[in-house]
Symmetry: C2
Subunit: 116 residues, 2 copies
DNA sequence: ATAATACTTAAGTACCTACTTAAGTATTGG
DNA sequence: CCAATACTTAAGTAGGTACTTAAGTATTAT
């Protein structure tokens, strides 16, 4: 099962600083210090957030020379997105069937009719 | 901004027990004890998870007599789903533009041609 | 070679989470 | 009425999270 992957992905996205980092990276790759620049926290704190994002699989990083370049890895985003979408759609189908049933019941009452 | 709502929603979804509860509720409303039955934790623990889901807005509950009935509230699911989808799509558009650019560069090298 | 840059590691602190057991409060069936 | 049911509240505990500052280690520019 992929439960642990979802745990990590949703946990990673539950922090506003990490979401800001993902938002920045959605525009394209960035170094750690570029990522840190708009944030009002220390660089080690940024590193810790980055580790959470990387462990979850949302972000991939590669170090060349002294610069670590970070980029989005969309697979995990897609996994999380689909988990939500599937439950939401299941719920909405349920609602639709209920509406259909209520409509059917209402017209039965309208003409007091039964098939057969 | 809706940052706090996203914090709470993603946090709520980051726990496997809470996701199991959402999954059950996606099939239709349930009482607290129905929700608790398949889970290997105490009822107070289930209540605490339920409080997290309710505070996040993912689940709505209503008490009638001694039974509290829980159901999915899809608005917050949609909000979270769209947050992910927008960043993923932004990243994918970026990749597409890069691919286009590389294609264009490649054909320039093929025929060494420039328009005009 | 020296110094600036770009991270990285370590260690400590204040809160937050998920869980437990024990003891409650309403409702409802016999 | 009395007891079973369905939750609810309270309090405690073990472990996790998000930060901090201080002190590193590589790389690159002068």
């Amino acid at each position: 099962m992929q439960a642990v992957a979802l745990d990590r992905t949703f946990h990673a996205l539950s922090d506003p600083t990490r979401r800001a980092m993902v938002q920045r990276l959605a525009r394209g790759p960035a170094s750690v210090s570029e990522l840190a620049k708009p944030l009002a926290i220390s660089l080690p704190a940024v590193m810790q957030h980055l580790a959470v994002l990387e462990t979850s699989g949302i972000v991939r990083t590669e170090k060349v020379g002294r610069v670590r370049t970070c980029s989005v890895e969309p697979k995990m985003l897609t996994l999380a997105e689909r988990w939500i979408a599937e439950r939401r759609e299941s719920w909405e189908r349920k609602l639709d069937r209920l509406a259909d049933y209520l409509d059917a019941t209402a017209s039965e009452n309208d003409n007091d009719g039964e098939s057969k």
